[in-house]
C-alpha cells in the first residue's frame, strides 16, 4: 500500500513539474497570434463545405502560425452548440443564425467584440447596419455578419411567357399574373404561386403594406393594425383562393423544390435557391426579380454571423480568423461564386446577384428578441391553421400578440 502511495506521489510531482515547465516555455513571439483555432458552422450545401475549406486554406497561407480546424456540425445545430457551450468546449469561431442570436447573446456564451474593434482598428462601418443590428445587444456587438440574403421573387420564365404576362411588380399585378396563369393552365398539375405557411415569408408583405411586427422601440407587437391585417389577408387570400398552394400540397419540401419540379411558377425565396436550382434542377429556366411592392417596399434579411466563444482558449488567434473571414478580402473570396451575398457594402456581389443586393436598403433583419422562437412557433402553427381553414386571421393575430407580450416580459 505504501509503495502504491509513493509511486502515486512521484507521478503526481512529475506531472506538476512537467506542466509548469510546459507553461514556462516562452511562446513564439515572431508575428502575432499563433496556435490552433476550431471553426464550426452548419453546411447549407455540399459546396459550402468545399468553399469554406478553400477560404480557410487561404487564411492559413496568410497566417502560417495559426492552424485552423474546420469542423462543420451536422444535425440540430443549436442543440449541438448548447452542449458545447455547457461543457466549456465550444469551437473558437462559429456561425450564429440571426434568429437565435438574441438568445445566445443574452445567455452570455458569446464574446463581445467591441474591445477588439478599437484595439485592432477594425471598422464595422462597411457592414449593412440592419444586418449588424441583429448581432448587437445592449450596445455590444457579438458577431459580424458573414453573408446574408433577402427574399426575392423567382419566376419560371417559360411559364410566364406561356401565360403572356409581364413580371409583376405590385400586389395587384401579382394577382393578375397568377390568375392569367391559372386561366392559361401555364402550370399544369400545380399552382401559379408557391407560398409557405411561414411568417418568415409573410412578414415582408407586412412591411410592404407599411406595417410592422414590433413597434420602433421593439417593446410591443403591432400586428393588430389595418396595414398589417391588409398584408396578412392578402397573403392568406392567395392561398385560400387557390392562386397559391403550400409546398406540401405541391409534393415538395419547400418552395424551391416546387419551382424546380415545375409545380409552381412564382416563389419567394432567397439566394439559397440559386445554387440549389443549379445543382438539382439544371434544366429549369427561371429568373430572379425584386419582391413586389405594396404601399412601400419591404423585405426580410436573413443573416448569419461569425462569432467568438466566450470560452475560447485562443482568443487572439480566433479574432485574427474572425476578422479575416468578415473582412473585405475574406468575404470577397467567400462570396465570389455566388453561394452567398456579401454583407459588406464594399464587397461587390457575384454576377447575377445585383437584384438581391438592391433589396438591402428595404430589408430588416430576421432577428427580434430573446425567446422569439416561442412566438415563431405560435406564428407558424396558427398560420397553417388559417391556411387549412381551422382558424381566422383575427384569432391568429390575437394569439401572436399575446405570445409576443408574454415573451417580451421574460
Amino acid at each position: 500500500m505504501r509503495r502504491v502511495l509513493l509511486t502515486f506521489l512521484v507521478l503526481a510531482i512529475a506531472a506538476v513539474v512537467a506542466t509548469t515547465a510546459a507553461q514556462a516555455r516562452p511562446h513564439r513571439t515572431a508575428a502575432g497570434p499563433s496556435g490552433n483555432v476550431v471553426l464550426s458552422g452548419w453546411a447549407s450545401s455540399g459546396s459550402e463545405f468545399d468553399f469554406l475549406t478553400n477560404v480557410v486554406q487561404d487564411f492559413e497561407k496568410k497566417y502560417p502560425n495559426i492552424h485552423v480546424t474546420y469542423q462543420p456540425i451536422n444535425g440540430n445545430y443549436p442543440q449541438a452548440m448548447l452542449a458545447r457551450f455547457a461543457s466549456h468546449t465550444p469551437p473558437d469561431v462559429f456561425y450564429v443564425d440571426s434568429s437565435v442570436a438574441p438568445d445566445w447573446m443574452a445567455a452570455g456564451v458569446l464574446q463581445p467584440l467591441n474591445s477588439y474593434f478599437s484595439k485592432f482598428h477594425f471598422s464595422t462601418k462597411p457592414f449593412f447596419p440592419r444586418l449588424l443590428s441583429g448581432f448587437t445587444y445592449k450596445g455590444q456587438v457579438y458577431g459580424l455578419p458573414k453573408d446574408w440574403s433577402p427574399l426575392a421573387m423567382e419566376i419560371n420564365t417559360s411559364m410566364l411567357q406561356k401565360a403572356g404576362v409581364g413580371v409583376p411588380t405590385t400586389w395587384p399585378a401579382l394577382i393578375a399574373a397568377a390568375k392569367r396563369m391559372q386561366v392559361t393552365n401555364a402550370v399544369p398539375g400545380g399552382a401559379p404561386i408557391c407560398l409557405s405557411a411561414d411568417w418568415a415569408r409573410l412578414l415582408p408583405f407586412v412591411y410592404q403594406a407599411g406595417g410592422s411586427f414590433l413597434n420602433k422601440a421593439g417593446t410591443a407587437p403591432v400586428l393588430n393594425t389595418p396595414a398589417a391585417k391588409k398584408a396578412i389577408n392578402f397573403y392568406v387570400g392567395l392561398a385560400t383562393s387557390g392562386l397559391a398552394r403550400t409546398p406540401d400540397q405541391l409534393g415538395s419540401g419547400w418552395c424551391g423544390e416546387a419551382l424546380g419540379k415545375q409545380k409552381a411558377a412564382i416563389i419567394f425565396e432567397g439566394n439559397w435557391a440559386l445554387p440549389y436550382m443549379h445543382d438539382t434542377f439544371p434544366t429549369v429556366s427561371y429568373a430572379t426579380y425584386a419582391m413586389p411592392h405594396g404601399r412601400a417596399r419591404g423585405d426580410l434579411g436573413f443573416t448569419t454571423s461569425y462569432s467568438m466563444a466566450k470560452d475560447s482558449k485562443n482568443k487572439a488567434a480566433a479574432w485574427t480568423l474572425l476578422s479575416y473571414l468578415t473582412g473585405a478580402q475574406g468575404m470577397k473570396k467567400w462570396t465570389d461564386q455566388g453561394l452567398a451575398l456579401p454583407s459588406r457594402s464594399d464587397v461587390p456581389p457575384a454576377a447575377g446577384r445585383s437584384v438581391l443586393i438592391k433589396e438591402a436598403p428595404y430589408s430588416r433583419a430576421w432577428s427580434f428578441f430573446p425567446g422569439f422562437s416561442d412566438v415563431y412557433t405560435v406564428m407558424n402553427n396558427d398560420l397553417t391553421a388559417v391556411f387549412q381553414g381551422k382558424k381566422d386571421v383575427q384569432g391568429m393575430i390575437n394569439d401572436i400578440q399575446a405570445a409576443t407580450v408574454k415573451a417580451l416580459k421574460k
Partner: protein, 309 residues
C-alpha cells in the same frame, strides 16, 4: 403444433401446416382426404403464401427504395421513379472516398459491441438474480430498474450532461458507453426468460456443488440463448442507430459514429439523396448481419427450449 387441427385456424396457418406435413407438391391427399377439398386447400395455400410474400415486400419497400435512390443522380431524385434512369455508382464512390466512413463504422462498431457485451453480462446476471435469487427488496429494486423505461432521455439530458462534464467524459467513448447503458428492457427480457426455465436443472447443478455464479454461467446462461439473442439484436441496433446522445457527446469528427456521418448529407434546403442513401445502405449492412446471425441462434435456442419438458 402439428397435432392441432389445421382447418379451423384460418387459411394461412392451414396452408402452412400442410406444407409441414409434406403436402407441398399437392401430390398426396390432404388429411381431409376429400378429393375436391384438396384442390381448394391448395388454392388457399398458394393464396396465403402470395399474401405473405406481398406483405414482406411491403416491409422491404423502404430498403428497396433506399438502394434504388442510391443508384440515381441528384437531379433524378426530384422526380418519382421506382428505378434509376441512369444507373450510377458515383454516390458510393463519393461516400467512400470523400468522407471518412471507414472511421465512423469503426467507431460505431466498437461502441455498439462494447455496449452490447456489457449489457449481456450485466443484464444476464441481474436478470438471473431477479428471477431466481431471493433477497429483501428484490421487487422494489426490480420495479426501480423497470421504471427507468419511463424516463425520457430528454429529461435526463441536462443533469447527465453536467455530470459527464464534471467527470471529463464529454467527447469520450467511455462517457458514451456509460450513458447508453439503459438496461431496463434487456434486464426484463432476461428475467422473464429465466423465469420460464424449470428449476430442476439448476437444483441438479447445485447438488453437484456448483456455486451461484457457476450455476448461472454453466447452466442457466446456455439455456437462455433466445433471450440473449434478442438482447444482442436490440442493444446492438439501439446503439448503432442512436443519433441523440451521439450528437451531444461525440463532438469531434474522429469520434463520429455512422449516424453522425449520415447527417452530413442533409442540408437546410436540400438533401444529397444519392449519397445519403448510399451511405445508409453501407450503414445498415452491419445491423443486417448481426440480425441474420443472431436470429439463427434465436431459432436454435427455441429448439432447445422446446425439449425442456
Amino acid at each position: 403444433m402439428t397435432a392441432i387441427e389445421p382447418e379451423s385456424f384460418g387459411p394461412p396457418a392451414a396452408a402452412i401446416d400442410n406444407l409441414v406435413t409434406g403436402n407441398v407438391d399437392g401430390g398426396g391427399p390432404s388429411r381431409g382426404a376429400i378429393p375436391g377439398r384438396a384442390r381448394s386447400e391448395r388454392a388457399i395455400r398458394v393464396g396465403a403464401y402470395a399474401a405473405m410474400t406481398a406483405i414482406s415486400l411491403l416491409f422491404f419497400i423502404p430498403f428497396l427504395w433506399t438502394v434504388s435512390t442510391s443508384l440515381k443522380t441528384l437531379p433524378e431524385t426530384a422526380y418519382f421513379s421506382l428505378l434509376p434512369n441512369h444507373w450510377s455508382l458515383q454516390a458510393y464512390h463519393d461516400v467512400w472516398t470523400k468522407y471518412d466512413f471507414a472511421r465512423y463504422i469503426e467507431n460505431s462498431a466498437g461502441l455498439s459491441v462494447a455496449i452490447t457485451l456489457i449489457t449481456l453480462v450485466v443484464a444476464g446476471l441481474g436478470g438471473y438474480a431477479f428471477a431466481r435469487l431471493r433477497f429483501p427488496g428484490r421487487e422494489i429494486l426490480f420495479f426501480g430498474v423497470l421504471a427507468t423505461l419511463m424516463v425520457p432521455d430528454q429529461l435526463r439530458l441536462v443533469p447527465v450532461y453536467e455530470m459527464l462534464v464534471k467527470w471529463h467524459l464529454i467527447n469520450t467513448y467511455t462517457g458514451y458507453v456509460l450513458i447508453k447503458l439503459g438496461l431496463a428492457t434487456s434486464l426484463f427480457l432476461m428475467r422473464q426468460y429465466f423465469l420460464t426455465i424449470p428449476k430442476d436443472l439448476e437444483e441438479a447443478a447445485k447438488l453437484d456443488g456448483a456455486g451461484y455464479f457457476k450455476t448461472f454461467w454453466r447452466v442457466m446462461l446456455p439455456l437462455a440463448g433466445p433471450a440473449l439473442a434478442a438482447v444482442t439484436i436490440l442493444e446492438f441496433q439501439g446503439a448503432w442507430n442512436d443519433f441523440f446522445w451521439a450528437s451531444l457527446l461525440l463532438q469531434t469528427p474522429d469520434h463520429y459514429t455512422v449516424q453522425l456521418g449520415l447527417a452530413q448529407f442533409v442540408f437546410q434546403y436540400h438533401t444529397e439523396w444519392p449519397k445519403l442513401m448510399a451511405a445508409s445502405v453501407i450503414a445498415i449492412l452491419p445491423i443486417v448481419a448481426v440480425y441474420l446471425v443472431f436470429q439463427r441462434y434465436f431459432v436454435a435456442g427455441v429448439a432447445s427450449a422446446g425439449v425442456k419438458g
